[in-house]
Symmetry: C2
Subunit: 197 residues, 2 copies
């Protein structure tokens, strides 16, 4: 009953505080999310929000649901970590998939995700420039408004490449199952340190 927060849990708090300054907040599909000035990325569960915080979205990192061994080995060999000093830009993209998606079986979801939409292959083209961390929300104890939160970090010179990546993903068959998506772009304060929240 008195368990510790899941060590893979992260909270994204939108409000007036945090190392990341919001430069855009766009509803791509479905309902948007309240505009805020800043975003704070916190390890663990934010039990009580600061008075000036407007929302908190949470998710856990987890094992891969679709990636196969050959793909994982390629990813591990080429991916970059979060917190690189040059990665002053980031994107926070919460999405929800439709009930149709969740009613599919594993083989059907994998076929749409990779064989048809090439999700992993598309992302791999932008490694190591774009670092990424995926968080799952659907199976948290408390019902959350999104199924996934993805956090991306990149240097300013890769911002156009990032736009190309998300445009490619949004054009896939997989994205027909995305019924809510918000795209929030942020920039790290020049006064804050890499890795700071």
């Amino acid at each position: 009953m008195n368990g510790q927060p899941n060590p893979r849990l992260f909270s994204f708090v939108g409000g007036a505080a945090g190392a990341w300054r919001v430069v855009s907040n766009r509803a791509v599909a479905g309902e948007g999310i309240e505009p805020v000035e800043r975003l704070s990325v916190e390890a663990g569960l934010v039990a009580t929000m600061a008075a000036d915080a407007r929302w908190c979205l949470r998710g856990v990192t987890s094992h891969e649901r679709y990636v196969e061994r050959v793909e994982k080995d390629q990813l591990v060999a080429t991916q970059a970590p979060l917190g690189r000093p040059e990665a002053m830009c980031a994107a926070f993209i919460p999405i929800r998939k439709s009930s149709d998606w969740w009613a599919l079986t594993q083989d059907e979801r994998r076929r749409i995700f990779e064989e048809t939409s090439h999700h992993t292959q598309l992302g791999m083209r932008y490694l190591p420039a774009i670092a990424r961390r995926l968080h799952h929300c659907r199976d948290l104890s408390v019902q959350e408004p999104f199924d996934f939160l993805t956090w991306f970090e990149f240097a300013p010179q890769h911002a156009a490449a990032f736009d190309e990546l998300v445009a490619s993903l949004r054009a896939t068959a997989e994205w027909a199952y995305v019924d809510r998506e918000v795209d929030i772009r942020v920039i790290r304060d020049s006064t804050s340190q890499p890795g700071e929240r």
Copy 2:
């Protein structure tokens, strides 16, 4: 922040109350769990346990992680619901899988789960006699001691078949990755109604 409990969340409370009387409690692998007299199966989050409750394990039902379309169609056609009047016996089996399991990729886990261990096919042999509900704990907001909680219900005349099913599963390659397992058997009070907690 003030979200509702996940509607797919269930709590299993061990203590002095509940419609199910514990008849055995065995540590199959790893650490056991404190013996209790009764088990209560509750929909939702049990925020505050009764004074005489000893433990509470929680999990969410979710989409299938390995089952493919042909298998799902077979399952749907043959499975029985929980709460049948004749299903006076039940088993509550929490398990945890090792970090080796979680480091595997989807294709590797599927291969062990089904192509090698025939998990779904094995279970299917005992349908509709044995009804089952699987709950996931690993990605809850709070760290839980198990990865999965499975709840099985069956009539007394199928108790031997159930023992055969769990023995078969424990002999599979998949079970080499189970590093903690507890097997709790319960009987519904004759005074309680089917479906009562």
